[in-house]
């Protein structure tokens, strides 16, 4: 047993400060993305989630120029984008996709500009990789309090909205009959989505954050037909992928001496493998999942 553990956890894993920070911030991102992702998938807002992430990359890259906490950068732009989408107020799916696509483009354009300044005017040459694809072992420990606060806020709002949001996601009309303020609920969910995306962008990078948001949720809804269980399964899948990815990335320093492989690669790969496994399980159990 001991030798098996030492095979998985290479020396120094438990004492490394960057690993601690990665485990905490990554775990928080996985939990929040897992919860928010299930609602996002049910509401058919995966594209909106992806767009928020892309726009948030502008904030992340600006934070390197300004020398501020990168999470603040991601968060700021994601929230602005969420507000913009809501203000555009497009009700038809096609129109909403157009608005979302335009915002996504504008956000990535800004990110391109800021990243260009980042790499040409300062010494932060790794900024592009960090913002877009994440570099978990270089997350400063100083962001932990803010990351936890954002995570707790997102979870608290999600818990509060649970039933009205579920009903409004099934049918806005059914929700309205019960006196639910459907538009307010939608806006709050978009804000929580922005929080989740910012945390995930901090972890696996802006481009890959939608994988952490959508992947575990997609795995979960294949495995269970209960909303509460789906959320739990989604959180679990996100944690397995994120912590598993961190462990594998740490180990990879020993596979190819001198440089490790990026954490994001492992996280996204694990999500993909879990997704395939879930699909196989579901196929095996017939079209209707048992639980």
């Amino acid at each position: 047993m001991r030798s098996l553990l030492s095979l998985i956890f290479e020396p120094g894993f438990f004492t490394s400060a960057p690993v601690h920070t990665a485990m905490i911030v990554g775990g928080g991102a996985a939990v929040v993305s897992g919860v928010v992702g299930v609602f996002t998938v049910i509401r058919g807002q995966s594209f909106a989630g992806h767009a928020l992430a892309d726009v948030s990359s502008a904030g992340g890259s600006a934070s390197f120029l300004l020398g501020i906490n990168p999470l603040l950068g991601f968060l700021g732009m994601a929230v602005i984008a969420a507000g913009g989408m809501e203000l555009a107020g497009a009700r038809l799916a096609r129109e909403r996709d157009l608005v979302t696509g335009i915002m996504l483009g504008a956000g990535l354009g800004l990110a391109a500009l800021f990243l260009y300044f980042d790499v040409t005017t300062s010494s932060t040459t790794g900024a592009a990789i960090t913002v877009m694809f994440g570099s978990m072992f270089s997350i400063p420990a100083s962001i932990i309090p803010l990351a936890l606060a954002v995570g707790v806020a997102a979870l608290a709002v999600s818990g509060l909205l649970y039933r009205p949001l579920l009903l409004a996601s099934l049918s806005p009309e059914l929700a309205a009959v019960q006196g639910i303020h459907v538009r307010m609920i939608g806006l709050l969910h978009l804000l929580v989505l922005a929080f989740a995306v910012a945390l995930a962008a901090m972890t696996v990078g802006a481009i890959l954050s939608s994988a952490l948001l959508i992947g575990p949720a997609a795995i979960a809804i294949r495995l269970t037909k209960r909303p509460g269980l789906a959320i739990a399964a989604s959180v679990l899948a996100g944690l397995v992928a994120t912590w598993g990815g961190i462990i594998l990335a740490y180990d990879s320093f020993y596979w190819t001496p001198g440089h490790g492989w990026p954490v994001s690669f492992f996280i996204v790969s694990l999500i993909f493998v879990l997704y395939l496994a879930a699909t196989a399980v579901r196929g095996h159990a017939g079209t209707e999942a048992a639980v």
């Binding site: 818990g159 909205l161 039933r163 009205p164 579920l166 099934l170 006196g179 809804i221 209960r226």
Partner: protein, 277 residues
């Protein structure tokens, strides 16, 4: 209108326009407790608009709607509503049972805890609509008729006195339509629920309806079925000559000579005969 009966819904000279175009003009009718009423009209006649006005989703230009508030809960008028079309994706991780439970407390903030009482109410409602067999399936995987049963249970679990359904029989095969119609009638009688149900085809409801509200040209005629579905009443409503034809157990409403200004919604059938639902 002085009414002796226990009035649950009163629609009083309600007019609704969309950007200046009148859709409902001075629609007036009332429904008593436990009455089963069909809201009949062609596509575009204003059935959905009328139901949305009763629910308070659509503000009338003039007139008012009064709904009995005796069974209000949590400050909400207890109106049950089954909307026209809900598309439920089969991947959504929500069981039929969960949809019914959301009818009970979907408006509450915070997490739900599955108490014995809550489970009991849900199970009772599922049984009342004959949905126990598929209660644990994903709601998106159910057939149209099964989904209607679940939505009816969702709408009724808070025991409203008034139930509005928007074209619940559309998209159902004849047998399911007949089953849903008689289920609604039975619930209406057993629990003294006033049911207002819109349809473009009144025939499945003929043996069941106490009353009809017939919409045409933005105006409504209401009363007992035999007092409304008549040549003179409908001719006045449409503004041109209408024949009510009874064939076997069905009623056909036809315009013998389709006038030029006949509304687009009325199909010409055949040659000079336009059939109206």
């Amino acid at each position: 209108m002085q009414c002796q009966r226990d009035e649950v819904l009163a629609v009083d000279r309600v007019s609704v326009s969309f950007s200046g175009r009148p859709v409902l003009r001075e629609v007036t009718f009332s429904l008593g407790a436990g009455e089963f009423c069909g809201l009949i009209g062609t596509n575009g006649a204003g059935k959905t608009t009328l139901l949305r006005t009763i629910l308070g989703f659509q503000a009338p230009l003039a007139g008012r709607v009064r709904v009995d508030r005796a069974s209000d809960q949590d400050g909400l008028p207890a109106i049950g509503y089954v909307p026209q079309k809900i598309t439920l994706d089969s991947s959504i991780p929500v069981r039929a049972r969960d949809v019914v439970a959301l009818g009970l407390d979907g408006h509450r903030f915070g997490l739900s805890f599955s108490t014995k009482k809550r489970q009991g109410l849900v199970a009772e409602m599922l049984a009342a609509v004959g949905a126990e067999k598929f209660a644990d399936q994903r709601v998106g995987n159910l057939s149209g008729g099964e989904q209607q049963r679940v939505l009816i249970a969702h709408a009724l679990i808070r025991r409203p006195r008034l139930l509005l359904l928007d074209e619940p029989l559309a998209n159902l095969d004849m047998r399911s339509a007949a089953e849903i119609a008689s289920l609604l009638r039975r619930l209406s009688v057993e629990h003294r629920i006033t049911v207002l149900l819109s349809t473009h085809d009144m025939n499945p409801l003929l043996p069941l309806m106490d009353r009809v509200v017939y919409l045409a040209n933005g105006r409504a005629a209401s009363g007992a079925t035999d007092d409304v579905i008549r040549t003179d009443v409908l001719s006045r409503l449409y503004g041109y000559h209408i024949d009510v034809v009874r064939v076997h157990d069905r009623i056909l409403v036809v315009a013998a000579e389709a006038p030029e200004e006949i509304p687009a919604a009325v199909e010409k059938y055949p040659a000079h005969v336009a059939q109206i639902p």
